[in-house]
């Protein structure tokens, strides 16, 4: 099976080369059968990569410990559920997994568009094959997941052998989130390849109009949605598994995943300027280029050891490959831009400060500033060493200092932007749309201040969250009222009808609401508290309104670990609430690693987060570390809402069943300052 897999990868690489060469010749000569064969080779490539991946999965499930990668990352006692995540738990496998996901995207793009966009697709095929070719070089020649364990025999002949059992999967990864987080994040990273390929193709082929944006809108949304969910799952995993009480530490690896998300968010917004007004063409092209390059840069940073991160991959020469690839992409993009920049001229200019355009402009400016700040902070040790000779790093306070004001300003724009009209907004419409939200959010701020809420940023965040949520509810309410007046449906049907009539717009609002929830959760961090102490049976500890009583400590035997567990009774106001069981696991496989199972009592108000932190070295008493983290749950709720919004935004618009009379048309369209985009413009296109 190992031979089969590595042969499939090799064949896939050959297909990639063929697709590139045949594609380029096909584009030059316009020979349709050459173009067709290039496309089919591209599809075959994808299938071959899928086959290779399936064969590695098979090797994991059959416990084939002759394969170095399987022996490193799996073991016989590893529960079957975790043998699949073991696939992407190390360098070689995760690179193959990357190729696999890119193949899934590429396969779908090539098959769905096989009879569409005949001028654009050959370019797209070549670009996708180039990216795949790069990863296949790594899969085949640099970091093959199918390498056999070998040793040099007494006569100098290499000998292949199989081990009786493997090292096992890192216990920190043996957690359900860890099965879901990398695929989501990778689907985000790889997904941005699709808009990148279409943008570069449109530029290279001087393809007229904004077609590439229409074609890729859904793909970008899909990639963005996966990236968002992936980042949040990672944060939740860090929170629930690592036992340090937080979910985000501005570690280089986290930053690497955040940067393309930020620039992708900027791209999703600024393409609307191009679609509606023919503006910002150069900006958009570069945004999508930059997003893709940040995806590759992230991979480079985490795998090259340039920036030290405790959980980056081991330092290896693979970084050079990524760096080279990055330079190559930058060169191709720059040359394509210089040669074809005349095709990107704008049709329109900004008319007014109070317009949708200007809110998008500021949104983009500020998102890119955030992205740059994160990049700067992440690369600071490298930059400072190059210029001053001193390796200087900046910690989380730097990132917080810059990004909290940026985040709050963005939150403000989230409320304001969607309600401003294109071109110019009248004062009258401002009053109509924002009067109630401004008044109520101001009131909320005063009440909170009166209640003793003094933290500046948290107070600003509260006011803005109320404001944005009210503008969103206002938008839904106005739209629903119009539909209700026309059709006399109940409010819930009005809500679904409205949402499905313009999924893109209302999906966007739902995503914004998710962002509001996430901000509520983030603001809670301003009020975190923690307490730590050694506890014997019968001892108590108080944190906030909760009283923790340590009832007992016990040992426990799991399938592949030994655990020490504390039983802690939580009470509030003298009333017993529940039992928590923080646990520390000692794994049998590997190097005797330990895992922390945090016990969390989570409510929408606050999380009580209890960690079994170890034993006191002096008297052996168990140490319990308790945290009180307000509002954290809202981050996960926000993630869920964001996911629902993304799905809604991807769905095609529901076509109205009735024949549109002029009056009905204005009902569907005139619900906001910006005419809702004509029903189903994009539904049929992609």
């Amino acid at each position: 099976m190992d031979l089969f897999g590595s042969f499939a990868l090799l064949l896939a690489f050959v297909c990639a080369c063929y697709t590139i060469v045949a594609g380029i010749f096909g584009i030059r000569t316009g020979n349709p059968s050459l173009l067709k064969s290039a496309r089919n080779a591209g599809i075959a490539l994808c299938v071959l990569v899928m086959v290779a991946t399936a064969s590695l999965v098979y090797l994991f499930y059959t416990d084939n410990f002759a394969i170095a990668y399987v022996a490193e990352h799996s073991s016989r006692d590893l529960p079957a559920f975790y043998k699949l995540p073991a696939l992407w738990s190390g360098q070689q496998g995760s690179l193959l997994f990357w190729s696999f996901l890119l193949s899934v995207y590429t396969f779908l793009v090539l098959v769905i568009n096989r009879r569409k966009h005949p001028e654009l697709m050959p370019y797209v095929g070549v670009i996708l094959a180039t990216v795949q070719g790069f990863f296949l070089i790594l899969n085949c020649f640099v970091a093959s997941p199918f390498s056999l364990l070998g040793t040099v025999g007494p006569t100098g002949v290499p000998l292949v052998f199989a081990r009786a059992d493997g090292n096992g999967l890192n216990p920190l990864l043996q957690y359900p989130e860890m099965a879901a987080h990398p695929p989501n994040l990778y689907l985000g990273y790889t997904g941005f390849t699709i808009p990148f390929a279409f943008a570069l193709a449109a530029l290279l082929g001087r393809y007229p109009g904004e077609k590439w944006i229409h074609v890729t809108r859904r793909w970008t949304m899909i990639a963005w949605g996966f990236q968002s969910i992936g980042i949040l799952l990672g944060a939740h995993w860090a929170y629930a598994v690592l036992g340090w009480g937080g979910y985000w530490a501005w570690d280089p690896v986290e930053n690497a995943s955040l940067m393309p998300w930020i620039s992708g968010t900027a791209f999703l917004h600024s393409v609307m300027m191009q679609e509606k007004r023919g503006m910002m063409r150069v900006w958009n092209i570069w945004l999508v280029f930059v997003t893709f390059m940040l995806c590759i840069l992230g991979t480079f940073l985490t795998r090259s050891g340039v920036v030290s991160s405790v959980h980056a991959f081991a330092q290896s020469s693979i970084g050079h490959w990524f760096f080279g690839f990055l330079i190559f992409i930058l060169a191709v993009c720059t040359i394509a831009y210089i040669k074809n920049r005349d095709y990107l001229r704008s049709d329109n200019h900004l008319d007014s400060m109070l317009s949708r355009e200007s809110s998008f402009l500021f949104n983009n400016l500020i998102l890119l500033a955030a992205c740059f700040a994160v990049l700067w902070g992440t690369l600071f040790p490298v930059i400072s060493e190059a210029f001053t000779g001193n390796k200087i790093s900046v910690g989380p306070p730097f990132f917080n200092k810059v990004n909290i004001p940026i985040g709050l300003f963005l939150l403000f724009l989230t409320g304001v932007g969607p309600l401003l009209a294109w071109r110019k907004t009248s004062l009258d419409s401002l009053r109509r749309n924002f009067g109630v939200p401004v008044a109520l959010s101001g009131l909320a701020g005063v009440v909170a201040y009166g209640l003793g809420f003094r933290h500046f940023y948290a107070l600003v965040c509260l006011i803005l969250c109320v404001f944005v949520a009210l503008t969103i509810f206002g938008e839904f309410f106005r739209g629903m009222r119009v539909i209700r007046a026309r059709t006399a449906m109940n409010w819930f049907s009005c809500f679904t009808e409205l949402s499905f009539r313009n999924t893109r717009r209302y999906g966007g609002y739902v995503i914004h609401l998710g962002i509001v929830f996430i901000f509520i959760g983030l603001a809670g961090a301003a009020f975190n508290r923690d307490v730590q102490g050694a506890m014997q049976t019968g001892d108590t500890m108080t944190i906030g309104p909760y009283r923790l009583l340590c009832q007992e400590f016990e040992g426990r035997q799991g399938p592949n670990y030994q655990a020490e567990r504390a039983t802690i009774e939580v009470s509030r106001d003298g009333r017993s609430l529940m039992m928590l069981y923080p646990e520390r696991r000692q794994f049998a496989t590997g190097n005797g690693e330990t895992g922390t199972m945090v016990a969390i009592y989570s409510t929408v108000r606050e999380d009580l987060y209890v960690v079994y932190a170890g034993r006191d070295p002096e008297n052996g008493a168990p140490i319990i570390h308790a945290y009180l983290n307000p509002l954290v749950k809202w981050i996960w709720i926000g993630g869920l809402v964001l996911g629902i919004g993304t799905v809604l935004a991807i769905l095609p618009n529901r076509r109205m069943a009735i024949v549109l009379s002029p009056a009905a048309q204005s009902a569907g369209v005139g619900v906001g300052p910006q005419p809702a985009h004509a029903v189903s413009t994009y539904g049929a296109q992609d």
Partner: protein, 150 residues
């Protein structure tokens, strides 16, 4: 005033605010990274900076004392006595020979007082390229619960 000038002012205001925040953010919490041998050659104000030093824990030197943990870091034959005074428990991976990264200040007597300690178990990381806790994931330094919140 025309629109273009208004935009220029708006953009300028935003960028200068952010620039100021970034500049002050950097100057407030920059941490110098030094090797043990560089540390011994430092003099003047550079000695009082907040810094990070990495090295391997010399076997047998970890001493748990009341309120602090003493140990010796070594790198290329040079050693540095360290006192860890932070209140978070040391990471599980902090053992003899482990690769450790300490953050804090150097005392005039050459002693290093660390507020944070990160550690990774060298043997594991070298033996398995890519076998680190969280491939391309988010999350704080996986092996170091004591470094998370600062």
């Amino acid at each position: 005033m025309n629109t273009r000038a208004k935009f220029a002012i708006g953009v300028g205001l935003i960028l200068s605010t952010l620039g100021y925040l970034a500049w002050s953010g950097v100057s407030e919490n920059k941490t110098y990274y030094h090797t043990i041998s560089e540390l011994q050659a430092l003099n003047g104000p550079a000695l009082r900076q907040r810094m990070r030093v990495s090295g391997n824990v010399q076997p047998g030197t970890i001493q748990h004392l009341t309120g602090r943990v003493d140990f010796v870091l070594e790198e290329e034959g040079r050693t540095l006595p360290v006192s860890y005074v932070g209140r978070d428990p040391l990471p599980d991976t902090f053992t003899d020979k482990a690769q450790a990264l300490v953050e804090g200040h150097r005392m005039p007597d050459g002693h290093f007082v660390a507020e944070q300690v990160q550690a990774k178990c060298a043997s594991k990381y070298e033996a398995t390229p890519g076998g680190t806790p969280a491939p391309r994931t988010s999350g704080p330094p996986a092996s170091s619960p004591s470094t998370g919140k600062s």
